[in-house]
Symmetry: C2
Subunit: 440 residues, 2 copies
């Protein structure tokens, strides 16, 4: 209960800080970001010293197997990574201001105008796993969007996070931002209380493993911006250009197999099987990919070293050099498979038939639906968003790769000269104009 009060009180102070942040224009917010970037560069020695303390502890965990090699490597900071962090903050500073943008403008009547204007969400709670650069990135995205942020990092990065937080906090306050807008939480209990802080915390952003995202989703009623699992498909149609298909499958599987936009299951129209399957299987195997294929599909083809695929494969995100392959009798069967087993992330069709593409686009229920392109393009930077808050596999806004728009919402601004609603109802009602305002 004492814990509880602590986080809730910090969140309430953070909410008041959002009101103070709202006094600042984009120049002041961007100026603070540039100052933060500068201070990170200046403080490299302290940051690396703190990181060294974390690495000492991590080495022990690595030896007992309590920490994976990948997690150990993500934890490590060096000169290049510190420079990269500072550069990342500078890049957020030069992005277009996401606040104050008008997304709807209507003249309801003479001297009664309605605008929908983007604005901060409020207090964002972020839970991230070992990579300490996530703290810097998410803090700068939140300040850019005028939000306050409560940050909870992994226990393994405790010293690094504390050092980075202190650098950012000091630089932000020196640049005139309210200190209460940035809060570091350090215990698991604090994080658990944050998930219960409905009304004080407006959005939770988990950054890390699928397990973390799922845990957060199941333990809070606060909206979650989650990038959960990615079970992406490539469907090679009967009318596919097989050269394109081969290049796309190889890129989508081998480019970065642990990314959420990597392909996990290849669907092949049965008419394309004889011409396509032997070639793609041997190309994949040459790159070290384990191929899992339905027993029926493998029959009649002379394929070596192919593992038999089971039902479980269709709903598995391998995050590894493994690809399952299923042969389908029709485009509609491919669509049905994707909608049933996929994670609504990104799915591609390879075909030269525009009608097949149109049907695929209309029917596949995913955030990204691609024609003759690799699923690996599903990424905020590649989409041109500048910064990536995450990738949302939810069905509602924001969906897919999420840029700064994931950290803003909107308000309706109604400006009148004393109008009352009664004037517009009843037998002598004035009629609304509802005329779109074309902004200059």
């Amino acid at each position: 209960m004492a814990q509880n009060e602590k986080v809730i009180k910090a969140a309430r102070r953070a909410k008041r800080a959002v009101v103070d942040l709202a006094r600042l224009g984009p120049e002041e917010r961007n100026g603070a970001l540039v100052a933060i970037a500068h201070k990170i560069t200046e403080s490299e020695a302290e940051i690396l010293a703190a990181n060294a303390a974390d690495m000492d502890a991590a080495r022990a965990l690595l030896e007992t197997g309590a920490l994976s090699v990948a997690a150990y490597q993500r934890l490590k900071l060096d000169h290049a990574k510190v420079r990269e962090m500072a550069r990342g903050v500078d890049q957020v500073a030069i992005l277009e201001d996401p606040l104050g943008q008008i997304t709807l403008a209507t003249e309801l009547d003479h001297e009664l105008t309605l605008h929908r204007v983007t604005c901060p969400i409020g207090v964002i709670g972020v839970i991230f796993e070992s990579r300490p650069d996530a703290l810097v990135q998410i803090a700068s995205l939140c300040l850019k969007t005028g939000n306050a942020v409560l940050l909870k990092g992994g226990q393994e990065a405790e010293h690094s996070n504390r050092a980075l937080f202190s650098v950012i906090h000091d630089a932000a306050v020196a640049a005139g931002l309210p200190g209460d807008a940035l809060v570091l939480l350090e215990s698991r209990a604090d994080a658990a209380e944050m998930l219960q802080a409905e009304g004080s915390v407006d959005l939770i952003v988990p950054r890390g493993s699928n397990a973390l995202v799922r845990y957060v989703q199941e333990h809070t009623h606060i909206p979650v911006l989650g990038h959960a699992e990615g079970i992406c498909h490539v469907y090679v149609d009967a009318d596919a250009d097989l050269e394109k298909a081969l290049a796309i499958v190889m890129d989508a599987k081998t480019g970065y197999p642990s990314a959420c936009n990597a392909v996990e299951t290849l669907l092949v129209h049965r008419d394309a099987v004889p011409r396509f399957l032997p070639g793609v299987v041997s190309a994949l195997q040459a790159q070290g990919v384990e191929v899992r294929l339905e027993a029926d599909a493998a029959r009649g083809l002379r394929l070596d070293q192919v593992v038999e695929a089971t039902q479980d494969d269709w709903s598995t995100e391998y995050c590894d050099l493994i690809l399952s392959i299923r042969v389908v009798p029709s485009l509609d069967a491919a669509i049905e498979h994707i909608n049933r087993y996929g994670s609504h992330h990104t799915d591609a069709i390879v075909t030269e038939d525009p009608a097949a593409w149109e049907r695929f686009f209309a029917a596949v229920d995913s955030a990204g639906v691609y024609w003759n392109a690799s699923t690996r393009f599903a990424d905020g930077f590649r989409y041109g968003f500048g910064a990536e808050v995450g990738i949302s596999t939810g069905k509602l806004h924001p969906r897919g790769p999420v840029g700064l728009e994931g950290l803003v919402t909107y308000k309706y601004k109604l400006v009148g000269t004393g109008q009352t609603a009664a004037t517009y109802s009843g037998p002598n009602a004035t009629t609304f104009l509802h005329r779109a305002i074309v902004e200059k």
Copy 2:
């Protein structure tokens, strides 16, 4: 468990029906709506007979006090209401098609284009209380937006809902829509199971009392489009035009006191108190409004029959002819009161000072922030949205009055000619163009 399977199976069939709905163009969806409207008019006798059975049962509940007079009246259908329902469906048919709208278009590279396109959400679960016309309205909004819908109405309206559902379902199927896209749930157990059907149901829309909305929010992890309580404020600034202020307060309180956009608390800058308060209090009392005022504020003014306001008043939605009044020392104190006690619905400032308005707009954390206009304008029809799905007091999209956009989401459509992501990374990376496409 048997119950569970029943709802989940229906939801899965509904999800497949969404794919079938995606084959239909706006003409076909709108044609089906017109056919539904026609069939409602044709079936008036059956609908009224079913409603009479509900009214018989309701009369007994009314006598024992188990049903309120208001609920009893909402339940009753007559010729005018049936005509109104049919007309409502016809009006949904003529609204602009919300699907297939392009909200972002970028040329990532030559022959690699990205579009963000609006599309249906999928399966919508609706829980509504006694008013049977809600079934017709929500079913038509869902079909307009290409979604499937599971409908659960109140027990009191059982016969009416069954009759209306059967009319709509028959007309929809006759017009070529997939029958599985419309499902009527009848038991409380079914509704409870629907709230657990994550992955099969994409959005829950509760339509009814605050208690219903809160219950639903607390019992599901599926996103909820809720119009919860409305604690709206009018703040009368030191620089207010008091004639405008009086008109706005009277409209916002007495126009329709049980609406969520009615004002509950009036905040008055202390400098405006002597000139404003006595007049507004007597005008309100003349209209039968109970006035609750802080003890300190009442001192020195000769006000009759004023009730003393307590802390509880600031967070109470009266839904009645009651208004609490608080005197504040400054604009910032008014903003702090609103952000603390309000429900982030709609709040208005009355002032002739543009700087006060700008500060109020930037700092008040509500879906609607109004200058010199009544809070009663917060309504989808008044905003020009044509149809209202509800009013969302959540912080994220959709926020405020929600039109058809509340029932659509979007997909990213990437069209290439075989591009791979590898081309755009590494030392010889091709640079993205990221050029906005101006649609013709």
